[in-house]
Amino acid sequence: MLDLRGRHLVSPSDLTLPEIDSIITLAQDMQRQRGAYSDICRGKILATLFYEPSTRTKLSFESAMLRMGGSILGFSDANASAVAKGESIADTVRVMDAYADILVIRHPKEGAPKLAAGYSRVPIINGGDGGHQHPTQTLTDLLTIHACKGKVEGLSVAFCGDLKYGRTVHSLIETLARYPGSKFYLISPEELVLPPRLKEQLLRTSNCEVFECRHMEEALPYVDILYMTRIQKERFFNEADYLRLKNSYILDGAKLSQAKRELIVMHPLPRVNEIAYEVDNDPRAVYFAQAECGVYVRMSLMAHLLGVTCS
């Protein structure tokens, strides 16, 4: 287990590949023998500062801390906290870091966790900032990919849906591009393509291949992983644009029949209608197992950042 004590996790690039491996390896062990870790965070407190709604991220962080014997506090509605009185992120963090040993922050403003990290004396974890980054979802995704494929390198991955505002996509694609042999298929309407800077970064700094397409069927026969995303109503300034694009991609049984037998279908959840319910019964659909991975990977991450381990 590598020493990450006291570090922040704002972006996946804050972690080296060996550090990511260390988190994944410990998460795998926690998944195998959860009981062995049930007391390692006794006396530790996690504060969840959620300025934006969340189910999986918030509850999986809380579950992770509780499963390690620690305690939790926090808020899930900015209107029910001092934020409603106009308190800044900086002031909230400077107060909360005295109340807790580790903070996870979700915020609609992009860069808010980076700002918070500059004011905190305890580790800050980015639980998702606007359409920017979601590094713990990436760790969750990597644990899932390891479990299903036994490796992360050399995979062909299709990202489908909202690639412009999809923070889970940004974090995962940036991270997978650091592993050799990655091939990406970017499936989105023209209005929701991957931000040009990110695409340029992929092409400039890594050896991955990138293909863009408008239809799912163009990529489906060739990929090992299909990463579906929701068209996010909350990221649009204009509702008419959302309504026009929300049904752009729907994965159903007929489309899935064109894919490889070894394909896995991932989704950070929640889904709206982009995956038909009939797909849930296909063994290639792994998104609920993926959500479960989120607990173990967050246990491992917090254990690393707090510097606690199994005795």
């Binding site: 800044s88 609609p108 403003k109 992009e110 700002l115 900032d129 920017h132 040009p196």
Partner: protein, 143 residues
């Protein structure tokens, strides 16, 4: 031609593209500096044809990062005892703090007033800077 005496100590902002002198004067807030300042406009120049010059007496702390963003032709001369002791050709700064706002309306630096926007040069040719907070690109239009 108008003759303006040299300064004993201070800063000469030379080779300003003709017409930008007044804008720089205002951008650097030189009127409220409290030091004698001279703005010369449309001065003949071998290099530029015409140029503007700003002379500031007893003051050497000009913001060269801002000058680099505004006009890459500028030379900044620091004067001591009527001699040029340092000559700097301004360039686009590698890192910029607080001189312009992030172009991303969802960036935290645009919503929390105490946050100093910080950028790193991404591509000089297009004058593109990447935001330290949201990592979006902002192209600086000052030129």
């Amino acid at each position: 031609m108008i003759k303006v005496a040299g300064i004993k100590r201070g800063t000469v902002i030379d080779h300003v593209t003709a017409g930008k002198g007044l804008w720089i004067f205002n951008k650097l807030n030189l009127a409220s500096l409290g030091h004698p300042v001279v703005l010369l406009m449309n001065v003949p120049s071998e290099r530029l044809g015409r140029k503007d010059i700003i002379k500031i007496e007893d003051y050497t702390q000009v913001d060269t990062a801002m000058l680099g963003l505004i006009d890459a032709t500028i030379t900044v001369n620091i004067i001591e005892n009527e001699q040029v002791v340092a000559k700097t050709q301004v360039t686009l700064p590698q890192v910029v703090s607080g001189l312009f706002a992030c172009g991303n309306p969802r960036c935290v630096s645009n919503s929390d007033q105490y946050v100093m926007p910080i950028f790193e040069l991404y591509e000089a040719e297009s004058r593109a800077y990447v935001c330290e907070y949201c990592e979006e690109i902002t192209k600086v239009a000052w030129k």
